[in-house]
Symmetry: C2
Subunit: 106 residues, 2 copies
Amino acid sequence: MFIAMNRFRVVPGSEEAFERMWLDRDVYLRSVPGFEAFHMLRGPAHEDHVLYSSHTVWSSKADFEAWTRSEQFRAAHSRAGDTSRRAMYLGGPQFEGFDVIQTIEA
Amino acid sequence: MFIAMNRFRVVPGSEEAFERMWLDRDVYLRSVPGFEAFHMLRGPAHEDHVLYSSHTVWSSKADFEAWTRSEQFRAAHSRAGDTSRRAMYLGGPQFEGFDVIQTIEA
């Protein structure tokens, strides 16, 4: 199990546009091999930004890496660099990949 | 749904002791109301630390907050400040709580 996260620092006043962009987007993930679940997370508010994080659970790191090399990935990220979108952020997104070393369930 | 994360910056050479401490600990979470799942995650290695993150899924933020006020929480964290443990980290753990604003499943 592998978790891919992207941390976004959204400038105050752009939270609604940011959330709408995610909720309205075309989703290509459902049929991708190894994809298990996606969550968009709203985290703590700081003075100059609100932290958001996308959070995708994959069966393995290899499945995630295959997705990043796919046509669907290119389609999903084709507008990521648009100027109107970049203005929402403080800097670029910060990627962090995590290996799951322990799981406990209720 | 609410996700509570704690980010730990573990100094090089202490990774094994840190992982062993988590894998060997007493777990109090399973019977806590609203607890859904716990993962311990190993993230990217940097020059001066390896990023780890604990990741706990709760039914709601209120369930998480009730847990932080419980006897079991005190028991689970009673040794968190031990000197031998603090030496494993670069600074203290960084807490981040997230509200889930979108879920997509395979």
